[in-house]
Every structure is written in structure tokens, then in C-alpha cells.
Amino acid sequence: MPLEIPKDKWPGSVRTITIGATPEEGGTRACTVTVGGETTMPFLHFEGEIPHRPVVAIEIRDRRPDDWSPLLLETWGEVVNDPAAWAKAAEEAGADLIQLSLSLTDGDGETTTPEAAVAAVRAVLQASGLPLMVFGPGQAAVDNQLLVAVAEATAGERLVLGIREDKNYRTIVATAMANGHLVNARTPMDVNLAKQLNILISDMGFPLDRILMDPTTAALGYGIEYGFSAMERLRLAALQGDAMTQFPMLVTPGFEAWKTKEAKVGEDVPAAWGDWLERAVHWETLTAVTLLEAGADILVLRHPESVRRVKAAIDDLMTVREVEAVA
């Protein structure tokens, strides 16, 4: 009996977004990264188009992080003291693009200055030709100060500037608009809040092909199911034609997974948790792969081994095979 494969016909699709600009395009990047364009739920090649593969970014910092797991510091070694060297190492570790997180304070406990932030960004841009995303430390006032300076100093690069929710979007969107950058719109795990922020941003006249949305995720064991479902719902809404959800999704499984006790702590934990390093890498990898299945387009990771594994998963999921033919 011939079997009819049930296919959903979706009226909508995800927007295609390009990050980074080459010299011809007004920037200095050696390559650009394009994400989005899906016309179906994740990796259902039999039903629609998935023209661009999800990509992996590696998160680096402008200075040695105070609160990172010793496992990460050990893996990266000396480069954590130098954002330029770190960027190069991230590129070698297989990153498709780089996410630079600016710290709230410098090594002496003073609030990071705009000059220091710009210097760090410049150093990274010089060291690596990959497209770059720059996120503020997460306090609206400081974020504004630092990101505006960075945006102005790097006009035309098509960087992604991290926005934290609705608090500071106006300033960041305005500077992104003036200087030819993109924004990452972050909201706390809620379809309506995500839509609302996207509407606010587009109401400012910001070009829709320069918005990424970050629906916020949580690590495995710490609420991943909320993020997973928020993402599935956002992607379904996008495919159903809701224009204000049709943006590629960026998520930060590295940040979330490496915050957990499972990844951070090696001693005095139950024997049933097993080997520390491998556990931590599984924590990050499985968080990332689960979110990939929910529609993530950009995954920001921290450990090189997780990057390798997640990229292998993406390779597999992007290989187009007939549903009826076994690979």
C-alpha cells in the first residue's frame, strides 16, 4: 500500500538575516553568516526549505571571567586574558561567528569604560575575520553606554548588538540603525513578549532583515522545557504567517549550562553525576541539541568540545535524505 507522507503547507517563513560585512559591503569581515529562511519546522526537509544551516557562536569575554567554571578556564588557557587571542582560538575551535560579552567591571573593579569596550572590540575584529556579536554586561545603563560607543566605532560592520529585553531597546536600536548593525531582541520566554518587543523595534523603523530574536533559554534541568516550548510556539507562529515572529532565533545554551552546579562544581557532588568534565560537556551539548530541535538558528556555546559535537549534529540534521530511504 503506497503511503502518503503528510506535509503541512505553511503560509509563512522565517526571514533571512546576514551578519557581518565584507570589505565590499562596507565592513572588514573575511566572511558573513546567513541564517533563517526556513519554510518548515526544524529539519523537516521533506516538507519545506531550510536554506541556511544553524550556526554556532563561541562566547568570549573582554577579560578573564570571574565566575566561569574552572573547566572552561583550563580549556582555553592563557587566551582568556586577551580577547584578540581568544577570538583567534575560538575561530580555530570551529566557531562560525564570535560573541563578545563585555564585563560590567574591569580587573580592578571599576565599571568598564566605553574606551575599553571599543578597544576590546577592535582587537577582536583585527584578530579574527569572523562576524561578531557584542553583548553588554546586562545592566541597561551600562549596556547603553558601552554598546553605543562600540556601534559608532564599528559602523558598517553589521555586528549584532545584544539588547536586554524592553529596558534599553530604544538606545540600542537607534545606534544600530545609525551605524548599520543588527540587534538581538531578548525577552523572557514568552511568545507575546517576544512579539511585543519586535513590534516596538520595527515601529522605530528598524529594518526587519536586521533583527534576531532571543526568547531566552534555561539549561537542562533548570527550565529548558519552558524555552523549548516557547521556541516551538514562536516558530509555529512564524510559519503560520505572524510577521512579528518571523526572525531567526538566537539562544545561549553555553551561558545557561555553564551556570549550573552540574557544570561548575567537581567536588562533593553525588557519585551518580559521574565524571565532571564529560558531564559538563554533555550538559552544554544536550541543552544545545534540544534547542536546535526547537528551532534555534544561532547557538552560543562555551566549550570547544561542545562546539565540535553540536556542529556534527547540525551536519547530520542538514543532510537532505529521502524520508523513505535509509541513510
Partner: protein
């Protein structure tokens, strides 16, 4: 899918005899479609119609249960493609595979260890579900010996794996009286395997490397009298298995396509590589597998997989929560501090585990924050000064504590002023943001 009133009407005698208490057969059919009456109210319905109606009422994905000695693993009976639409009901069973070419001592040792594996996650003890024993030797005696070795150390449900009906018969004999999952019937052996399944009243896994082949086989096997089946569609990579699992679930749920209306079994272990196995298994959890057979048993892989399974299968409408109340940690005295937190399970256990693990005595005031985390509850107005003060009184905290010190999470430092107003005779302290830092804080700042 359930039949409509009109479809049901066509199956009724159409005599309008009123014996069912309704004026017409059509009226009865409508009530039946709305599930407001029982079919048995009509005494005149034919056996044939009864069978059709029973079939239409059965779930689109058959519920398959593996039982053994008080253990039970259920798969199937799912009703949605996405968990937010309702919820995913039956957590996929994790089975660890043993092959009969290993020595019996090795098998016993490994099985005893994995059988005992348990890890605590937010107050729940998570374990694996059972074992798969595979005939690698092809020899019936070796197979049954391996099975007996597993049974000697674990009573959990089993999956027996061989394509050779003779070998399978020997295996089934080794656990006579049980109904393990038989893996697998295929295009060549299905008749003999179906007969074994019938004889032992055991569920039967069916293998074909195409969905069409699978649908053909399940229909033939069903016609031979086997009801409980499990599907192996043959794909072992991420991409094809995602596509096939999705198509199977869609056909079952949207088209009530019975030939594929069974739970799916996945073999991430076939990958060979432990890291890749973990990824395939996570994918199987998120995307529709009912049984998952693993080969590696490293705790650092089992723990995240067990947690992922809990997460994906929680009810999206109901966060996992603990009972609000005043909890005693390490036998506190009236002089020890009160720590305020919420009743979201993950929050409660991150705090309780830290304090308990550090051996520090404290009163943990678990407020009724409707199962939300500290910041979520605060943002939603469910963890504010008023609510905390209310629960201080509701749980009679002043009766138990003399030295009135209450510590609030660092994330909600902003409410400390209001809480001082609500609890005038209390000393309100702002603790660290993360629970990991609580022991140090308690030792240094709470003396």
C-alpha cells in the same frame, strides 16, 4: 480519530425502536459521538458495528506496556505533536543493552551496577527502566544463559533481541511466564515471530527500513492476531529518524493511520560513539521515541538524559512544585535563621540541598509562589513582602523561632525594605544571589 454522529448513525440498526431511551437512532448516535452515553445502551447493535466503534474509540497511538515484577514501562497513547498543545504523557523507557557474547560474569556485573543506578533530581529518584539482551552469538543456549544472567541480578522489564525465531524461542523460554518485548519481526521472519508473540502474549517490535514496509508488516502481523507492536523504522542518523518519527506521529494523530499507530523504539547505541549516542538519545527523547536502547552507561551521560526526559515530559500547565510550608533543615533550633524561598521544585531543591549538604541548621520557609522561581514569582507578584509575611504567620514561624532573622534571596534585594515594614520585629537580611554561595554566607554573615 473518533467518528462523527453521522458516521456512527450509519452503523446503528436505524429502526428508531427507542430502547436506548432516545427517540431515534440518530439522536442516540449524536449523544454517542459526544461521549454522553455508553454504546451498551443500544441492545440491538451488531457485533460488527461494535468492533468498528471500539476500534474508532481506541487511541491513535497504541499504549504498549512492558511489565515485570512490579516494574512497568508504558509507551504510546500520545495525543499531540508539540508538548505545549497539551503534554507528552508516557516518558520513553531507557533500556541498557547487553550482548550475549560477553561473559556471564561481565553481564551480571554491568547489569547489577546499572540496575542500581539512581540519581536524585529535584527530590525525585530517577532510574533506568530495564535491559535489552541481544543475541550476538546466534546460539540459543548462549542467548538464554545471558538472559538468565540478567534476570539473576535485575527484575526490571526486558527486551529480547534476535531476528532468528529459534533463538528467540529459547530466549523466551528463559523467562517463561514473562512478556518481554520481542525484537524484532521483519519481512522474512514475521510469521514465526508473530506466533511467538502470541504464544507468550508479549509485545512485538517490528523492523523495516521504510515506513511503507513497516506499515505492510504491522498489518499482516495484526491480522495474525498480535495487537501490541513497537516500530523500528531503521534510521539511525538524526535527520532521517527525525523525519520518520515525525511522519509516524503525524499519520497516527492526524490521519488515524492505524498501521503506524504504535510507539517507536530507538537505538542511539548503534552509533558506537558515546558522545554521539548521547546526542541521538536526547533527540529521541525530544522527538517521539517510546523506548530508547542505550549501550553506554557512564553516569555522566545517564544523568543528563534522565533529567531531559523529566523536563520534556513535565506538564506545561503545571510546574513541578513542592508543598509550601516551614521545612526543618539539619534539625534547627529556635536560634537558627529562617531562609525564605519559593515552592518551585528546582528552586526549593537548589537551596535545600546546599544548606543540607553543608550541614548547617536552618528553617526554610517555602512560600506559596504558585510553583515559580524566585525572579519569575517576583516579576509576577507572587513573591513579594506581603506574601512572605503572610506565610510567616500562616506557617506559625514566630512560634518556632526566637531569634527573628529572615534571609531573602539576593535576587529580590529590592523587597527588603517592604518586608521590614511587614515584619517589624524581624531582622531582614539579604542573602547571596545563588544558592551555591549560601553556606559561605551563613557561616560568615549569620553568626
Amino acid at each position: 480519530m473518533a467518528l462523527t454522529g453521522i458516521q456512527i448513525y450509519k452503523l446503528l440498526p436505524k429502526t428508531n425502536c427507542k430502547d436506548c431511551g432516545f427517540p431515534t437512532c440518530l439522536a442516540f448516535a449524536m449523544k454517542l459521538a459526544a461521549k454522553q452515553v455508553e454504546l451498551s445502551a443500544c441492545p440491538h447493535i451488531s457485533e460488527e458495528a461494535k468492533a468498528v466503534l471500539a476500534e474508532s474509540a481506541s487511541p491513535p497511538i497504541r499504549l504498549v506496556t512492558l511489565k515485570a515484577d512490579g516494574y512497568e514501562v508504558k509507551a504510546g497513547n500520545e495525543v499531540v505533536l508539540f508538548r505545549h498543545e497539551k503534554k507528552f504523557y508516557h516518558k520513553p523507557g531507557f533500556f541498557i543493552r547487553e550482548r550475549d557474547d560477553a561473559s556471564l560474569d561481565q553481564i551480571r556485573e554491568r547489569v547489577a551496577a546499572t540496575d542500581a543506578y539512581t540519581v536524585n533530581y529535584v527530590g525525585m529518584d530517577l532510574t533506568l527502566d530495564g535491559f535489552a539482551v541481544e543475541s550476538a552469538s546466534g546460539d540459543p543456549t548462549t542467548f538464554s544463559q545471558a538472559i538468565s544472567a540478567v534476570r539473576a541480578v535485575s527484575q526490571r522489564p526486558l527486551i529480547l533481541m534476535s531476528r532468528d525465531p529459534g533463538v528467540m524461542a529459547a530466549g523466551l523460554q528463559a523467562v517463561n511466564g514473562e512478556a518481554p518485548l520481542i525484537y524484532a519481526a521483519d519481512a522474512d521472519n514475521w510469521e514465526a515471530m508473530a506466533d511467538l508473540a502470541k504464544q507468550h502474549q508479549a509485545p512485538l517490535a517490528v523492523f523495516a527500513d521504510s515506513l511503507e514496509g513497516l506499515a505492510d508488516l504491522t498489518q499482516k502481523i495484526k491480522a495474525r492476531g498480535v495487537e501490541d507492536m513497537v516500530l523500528d523504522h531503521g534510521a539511525r542518523d538524526l535527520g532521517t529518524s527525525l523525519a520518520r518519527n515525525t511522519v509516524i506521529r503525524r499519520l497516527a494523530l492526524k490521519k488515524t493511520f492505524r498501521p503506524l499507530g504504535y510507539p517507536i523504539i530507538a537505538f542511539p547505541g548503534d552509533a558506537g560513539d558515546a558522545a554521539w549516542e548521547a546526542i541521538l538519545a536526547a533527540h529521541a527523547v525530544a522527538k517521539y521515541a517510546g523506548f530508547i536502547v542505550l549501550d553506554h552507561t557512564a553516569p555522566e551521560m545517564l544523568y543528563p538524559l534522565l533529567v531531559l526526559r523529566e523536563n520534556i515530559y513535565t506538564d506545561p500547565q503545571k510546574p513541578i512544585q513542592v508543598q509550601p510550608g516551614l521545612y526543618e533543615i539539619n534539625d534547627p533550633s529556635p536560634e537558627d535563621p529562617v531562609l525564605a524561598t519559593t515552592n518551585f521544585s528546582i528552586t526549593y531543591f537548589s537551596v535545600a540541598n546546599e544548606v543540607e549538604g553543608a550541614g548547617l541548621p536552618a528553617w526554610l520557609l517555602v512560600t506559596d509562589a504558585e510553583g515559580m522561581s524566585v525572579l519569575t514569582a517576583w516579576a509576577a507578584g507572587k513573591f513579594d513582602a506581603e506574601r512572605i509575611a503572610k506565610d510567616v504567620r500562616r506557617f506559625h514561624v514566630p512560634d518556632k523561632v526566637h531569634r527573628k532573622r529572615i534571609v531573602i534571596p539576593g535576587h529580590v534585594a529590592v523587597i527588603s525594605g517592604e518586608l521590614e515594614e511587614e515584619l517589624p520585629d524581624w531582622e531582614v537580611r539579604v542573602g547571596p544571589r545563588e544558592a551555591v554561595d549560601l553556606p559561605t554566607y551563613m557561616k560568615e554573615a549569620l553568626v
